[in-house]
Symmetry: C2
Subunit: 260 residues, 2 copies
């Protein structure tokens, strides 16, 4: 693998365009776990980095499920400022893989709130094994408010993004969230062949059994075993009555060359 730019150098900062925003969001949308940096309360500001499971709220905000007994949770309780690194390296040069550093403030999710019901349901669809402990008394959800980010697209392509670049923008967010579980169940039960077609078209995969584990205004989350992939709709859903069309449109792409 040739690397035209030194791997660690940020190089010329590029103008942040929609492609960069889409890649940055995708790194979150497809992340199962992230490295989370917090600030240790007991040592007046020593950084502490650990691995945590990550989810996404229906509006694009990252969510965490953490034990109150763990060091990162105690740190977040004392100082909500945190940073997460999304994008795991694979084979080859670890610095050739795109990755996202997202600076956030963590906000606790009250256990008896509507937010909690929604965030918990979305998180557990993404991380079904977390059902085993999500309701233990020491476990809590945080929602992260993105403040700013830097995207390294690999090969020295560096971009700076605003927190707002990660927030979904549509009047249909709440309405879609309300029918998300039912729509997922309907698709996974009655339209398995359609889901297989999405996997073939957008993930170039014909062998695995994919299931939908999330639907938001930007697209759908597909999971197979431990793999998590996101497929964007042609455009964000702005009216839930058009959701069916958004799904249909993905399928019509079957006649064209793949584009995602």
């Amino acid at each position: 693998m040739t690397n035209p730019e030194p791997a660690d150098r940020p190089s010329v900062l590029r103008d942040t365009d929609d492609e960069a925003r889409k890649l940055a969001r995708l790194l979150l949308q497809e992340a199962r776990s992230v490295a989370l940096a917090t600030v240790e309360p007991a040592t007046t500001g020593f950084p502490f980095v650990s691995r945590v499971l990550m989810g996404l709220d229906c509006d694009g905000r990252p969510t965490l499920l953490v034990s109150g007994l763990s060091a990162h949770t105690r740190a977040l309780d004392a100082d909500p400022r945190c940073s997460l690194l999304a994008g795991d390296p694979g084979k080859g040069d670890p610095l050739a893989y795109p990755r996202l550093t997202l600076q956030c403030r963590a906000v606790p999710v009250a256990r008896d709130s509507d937010d909690h019901v929604r965030i918990r349901a979305r998180f557990l669809r993404r991380h079904p094994k977390a059902k085993l402990y999500a309701d233990f008394p020491d476990f809590r959800f945080f929602r992260l408010e993105p403040e700013r980010a830097s995207l390294n697209g690999g090969f020295g392509r560096a971009y700076v993004l605003d927190g707002g670049d990660f927030l979904y923008d549509s009047p249909a967010i709440v309405a879609l969230s309300a029918l998300e579980a039912e729509a997922i169940d309907h698709m996974n039960t009655d339209h398995r062949e359609t889901i297989a077609a999405y996997a073939r078209l957008y993930l170039q995969d014909e062998t695995q059994d994919w299931q939908i584990v999330g639907i938001d205004i930007t697209g759908i989350d597909l999971a197979s075993g431990d793999q998590l992939r996101h497929i964007n709709f042609e455009e964000p859903v702005r009216d839930v009555t058009t959701l069916r069309n958004a799904f249909k449109y993905l399928r019509t792409e079957e006649k064209k060359p793949p584009k995602n």
Copy 2:
């Protein structure tokens, strides 16, 4: 995969024993890249996490090669406190994989020093592609002074370690480092069949072409393509005249069941 303990919960802190120390060191010895958390100077202490390549000095201290233009280097210049996360997740539950959080202070390595010559050579054997940019004027090495660590062995096995647990202890460190390059060259040139036997015995691999890329008093680093593995000697080398015996002993293990 069943997980008897909630994945994020530190569980009962175990007494730190030699097995835990060995695993913690191994996570560093086999790390190609780590998530590095630093403290942003411009925002009075916001944590910032990014991916960097990591090496090890001959005494076990982690080393970094970074561009002075990157955000983490500017942060380290202003505040040497940092934290690194070693241990990449693989297939399955990301929290079932062992991982190490190491709290360190970063010390710049002066470019014209003996330390620089040694650290650069060890780093570039581990990361040969970094030869392309290691000598660019904006690139610098840091050596990390470990202060303390937490090891999560997966499945809720949590341990606390001291910085000193990562420092190799032998009167032979300097002498072995002086002959390391020559010994590696000798082994890779004249004893390829022996290296293949090590891979077969300790890595359970017979198919790939492994090369030695590091020798220290604890053992040898083997690389094949982008894989990096560490094999421990039976015991730390305390006298370089016994290095040959340490290598021979590894081979005599061929008659016994594998133990590494």
